[in-house]
Amino acid sequence: MVSLNNLNRKLLGQSLKSRSARAGFLFVFPAVSMMLLFLVTPVILAFSLGFTNAKFASPTEPSFIGIENFTEMLSLGQVSVEADPNDENVAYDNLRTYTKPSNASPYAGMQILSESYSADGTQANFTVAGDALFWKSLFNTLVFAAVIAPLQGGLALALALLINSKIRGKVFFRTVYFIPVVTSMVVVSILWIFFYQKDGLANVILDALIPGFEPVSFLTSPDLALPAIIFMSAWQAVGFHMIIWLAGLQTIPAELYEAARVDGANSWQQFRAVTWPGLRTTFVFVLIIISIQAMGVFTQINVMTQGGPLDSTTTFVFHIFREGFRKNDIGYSSALAIVFFVIVVTISAIQRRLTRDKD
């Protein structure tokens, strides 16, 4: 009897186990198959295409070219040439004798990345690159991420703290701050194009705030276009991160605040000693999410500036897009994507390492 019971239990347990395993497999199947199809497959494709000269639309078959894409992308050089302080074209014309593709020179076909002049203006130093836009877009993307992480994260925290306090109309404000998040980025970008025009809202507001303000056209100024897009992007997604901060705030037990108040802590001290330590995990999450999202910035660039003026807003993903889809150079753009992948993973890993010990 006993042994039969045991056996029964064993059988029941086994079949339950295998049945739940099957159910489990069925449950994850849609997600796993989608991941395989839309994430793993493209990654494998990109990794293999990066070592070919594949074209997006071309009757010629792609061929394996090894690391040629990468050497072109990463090549850099320094060229010093004579310059004439009275004629800015002289330095360029001298440089051109090195960079013209038909010339026999190690710098043939390379593009100007930056230039500087000696104090007396008789010598010019050019930094040339196989793909100047690679370095420019990398720089722009890093600037974008470095500025937007504290800006957006901080703003979102401030909003979350405001909303978390006991005020009337909390739901109303929460909704208002969240509306841009659920609005399509394309729509938001188009609206902000108008805001940023010379006679647009941004200039009207600045004019009212600053006496004697000269209206500027933000998106056609190489100095202002990127800051303008950073500001707009921070505003657009701030509501999302606000909600995450808010969730974090609500996990902090009210007793801690009560205890702090009994100890005579003012609001700043409460924030320092109770709120901020309680938000540690939320902070790590928000930081990494914002960084990864910022590294992939694309939509607003494509809609608002197309990477211009003078490449000042060309971001890494936009560069990948333009090489691949505008110039049909899928091989090269896959190589760019591989490098981008490595950069993003590295940055995320560094962030994890810096924040891990304190978790």
Partner: protein, 423 residues
């Protein structure tokens, strides 16, 4: 042996029955669907005419049913490229004239099979040939001109130019300066730089050609060095950039281009499709004048949107039938009347009052006949177009013209070599 033969016989008989049984079924049953993509989403008048032709065509016969999908122009070419990559091109496509050689070379398209009488009746700007074969045919051509108010010219004391005596560079420069100096306008001229994409080479490379430059060496189509960065091309770049640097034109010009009609911009460089609205708003005060002669005579771009058949189309016969159908004079007239484009046949032009001699649009026929230049008919054009667009955009934003055009030449030549000169 006998058994096998019998089986084969039975099978082939069944096949014959199936075929013959099928043939009447297509006539009485469901018509075959022929998919079509159009770039004209949002362009109400144009798409309405296309839809009208589709409805009429579907009603006129029972074998085929054309099904339309609309795309905004900005993303149309990308959509075609993506569809080709995933082997899901529609049957009938429309294609911008200068892009056609690339699509034909890429294997997106097959040559048209339309009647030779129709082919002969179409004007040159409405037909696209690649390797000597007709790949695309359209209902119209477009032409560019300068739109200006008579009152503006009178105020600054400028003469009204004619086709035989257009403005010179010096005259035009003076005019921009004078219009700017009146203080009546935010900007003297709207070049249309708010429109991105193909507009840049379409609108600005003819000006560069008028300066004496060009996009590529047209004798071989194997090098852009010495053409796009020649002294004359650079002269164009310097001058064109200066109109922005001096504040005559707005680098931040938006794409809606309503300022000219609203009266805040003095001169507008635009196509015949824009004239209808301007004419309604300004009436007699509106002048359409030829673009200036910058040295090598006035030049305007030729070749507009045309219809073609994709290489993967399984019902090419139906597709060709529809293209013949939509290129009937009655639709050509409708396109011309509604969107103001130059009718593709002489017979249709005679039926369009605006294009009859003395009509308000008649000048465009003259401009098209005398000044039109084709963008380089080479598969490399797709890249040339993208690269040139960026160079001109950089020049508008203050880049050194020589450096921007040198960079464009390098990039085009690298691409040509990369693609084995598109042979």
């Amino acid at each position: 042996m006998i058994k096998t033969t019998r089986v084969l016989l039975a099978a082939s008989l069944a096949g014959v029955l199936a075929i013959t049984g099928c043939a009447p079924a297509t006539n009485t049953g469901e018509p075959v669907k022929v998919s079509m993509w159009s770039h004209a989403a949002g362009n109400d008048q144009e798409i309405a005419t296309v839809k009208e032709a589709i409805t009429d065509f579907n009603a006129s016969q029972t074998s085929y049913e054309v099904v339309l999908e609309e795309f905004p122009q900005e993303s149309y070419n990308d959509s075609i490229a993506a569809a080709a990559a995933s082997n899901s091109l529609p049957c009938i496509i429309d294609v911008d004239g200068p892009i056609m050689p690339n699509w034909a070379w890429s294997g997106y398209m097959q040559p048209l099979q339309i009647s030779s009488t129709l082919e002969e009746s179409l004007i040159a700007g409405a037909k696209g040939y690649y390797n000597g074969e007709l790949y695309s045919a359209g209902a119209w051509d477009a032409a560019l001109g300068m739109l200006v108010r008579k009152s503006t010219l009178e105020k600054v004391g400028a003469r009204i130019p004619t086709v035989s005596e257009p403005w010179t560079l010096a005259e035009f420069d003076g005019l921009l300066k004078a219009v700017d100096a009146t203080g009546d306008y935010d900007y003297a001229i709207d070049w249309g730089n708010g429109w991105t994409g193909e507009w840049y080479p379409y609108a600005y490379s003819p000006i560069m050609q008028s300066f004496g430059g060009d996009l590529i060496n047209r004798d071989t189509f194997e090098s852009a060095d010495g053409a796009i960065n020649s002294d004359k091309s650079v002269a164009f770049g310097n001058w064109f950039g200066s109109t922005f640097a001096k504040g005559y034109a707005n680098a931040a010009q938006t794409g809606d281009r309503t300022e000219f009609i609203a009266g805040t911009i003095g001169i507008q460089y635009n196509g015949n499709w824009a004239v209808k609205d301007a004419l309604e708003a300004l009436g007699d005060d509106l002048l359409i004048v030829p673009p200036p002669n910058f040295g090598s005579g006035p030049k305007i771009g030729a070749g507009s949107w045309q219809f073609g058949v994709s290489s993967t189309c399984e019902n090419a016969e139906g597709a060709n039938q529809f293209i013949e159908f939509i290129l009937q004079d009655k639709y050509i007239v409708a396109f011309a009347n509604r969107i103001g484009l130059i009718p593709a046949t002489a017979a249709a032009a005679a039926e369009v009052p605006n294009y009859a001699p003395g009509g308000p649009f008649a000048i465009f026929v003259e401009l098209s006949n005398q000044f039109s230049v084709l963008r380089p008919p080479t598969p490399a054009y797709l890249k040339i177009s993208t690269i040139y667009e960026k160079a001109v955009a950089d020049i508008i934003n203050g880049a050194n013209a020589k450096q921007a055009l040198d960079a464009a030449a390098d990039e085009i030549d690298a691409d040509l070599a990369d693609n084995k000169f598109y042979k």
